[in-house]
């Protein structure tokens, strides 16, 4: 299931809901991303995310479908915040369930790499020195490339 929401969510609720959805799985991997309190040595007061519906949701759905083709998953969840967030709040939750752990770990990792580099979001940090739009780091693109290499070999 995919959710792009402009309201805070609790990670513990997201995990509980996913456990119910994934009943019968042998392995569940969840990843929670939180708003960092500092960026480049500065305090972050607000993180703001924009999405472009329905392109954002359609893109995530395609990535989830690619993950399901590549790994034997029994359930997948992607929840992503948009709008204004404060440090410490959950920004992203990814969960994957399978019979065994490896598929669940890899699928969650793959989906996070998609979200960091290709998902249709724009991210802005508000710090004492002003407003900064954040684009993916080189490391994020390298992380994503691992999956293309794996597929090609």
């Amino acid at each position: 299931m995919i959710r792009v929401i402009d309201q805070p969510f609790r990670i513990s609720d997201a995990i509980a809901e996913f456990e119910a959805q994934a009943a019968g799985a042998g392995a569940i991997v969840t990843f929670s991303g939180l708003v960092r309190p500092r960026a480049k040595g500065e305090e972050v007061s607000t993180l703001h995310l924009q999405a472009y519906s329905p392109m954002t949701e359609n893109g995530i759905r395609d990535a989830v479908n690619r993950a399901k083709e590549q790994w034997p998953l029994t359930a997948v969840q992607v929840t992503h915040r948009i709008g204004n967030m404060s440090p410490g709040e959950a920004i992203v939750f990814v969960a994957a369930a399978s019979v065994h752990r490896r598929a669940a770990f890899e699928a969650a990792d793959f989906l996070m790499d998609y979200l960091k580099t290709e998902a249709v979001f724009w991210k802005k940090e508000v710090t004492p020195s002003g407003v900064h739009w954040i684009e993916p780091r080189t490391e994020d693109y390298h992380d994503r490339e691992r999956w293309n290499e794996a597929k090609g070999s």
Binding site: Y52, M55, E118, F121, W122, K124, W133
Partner: protein, 82 residues
Amino acid sequence: MARILYFGKLSSIFGEMSETADLPASISDTAALRTWIDQTRGFDGVLLHPSVRIAVNNEIVPDPSPVSDTDEIAFMPPVGGG
């Protein structure tokens, strides 16, 4: 009237996330639109950078692709969430 959307840093430069615009008759594709909007909205070359992609009616298209006065056209700088 075409609806023009500006995302990410482009929304900060323009000052708004969207506008409606009457496209001049001479603007019939994304390449011409990119140049016209860049020059008339004070983007100062930012829209001409190849990292800024254009979506017409929610589909990312290559330059030059047709645009008309009834389209929703989005200017999209590099994306990334998480």
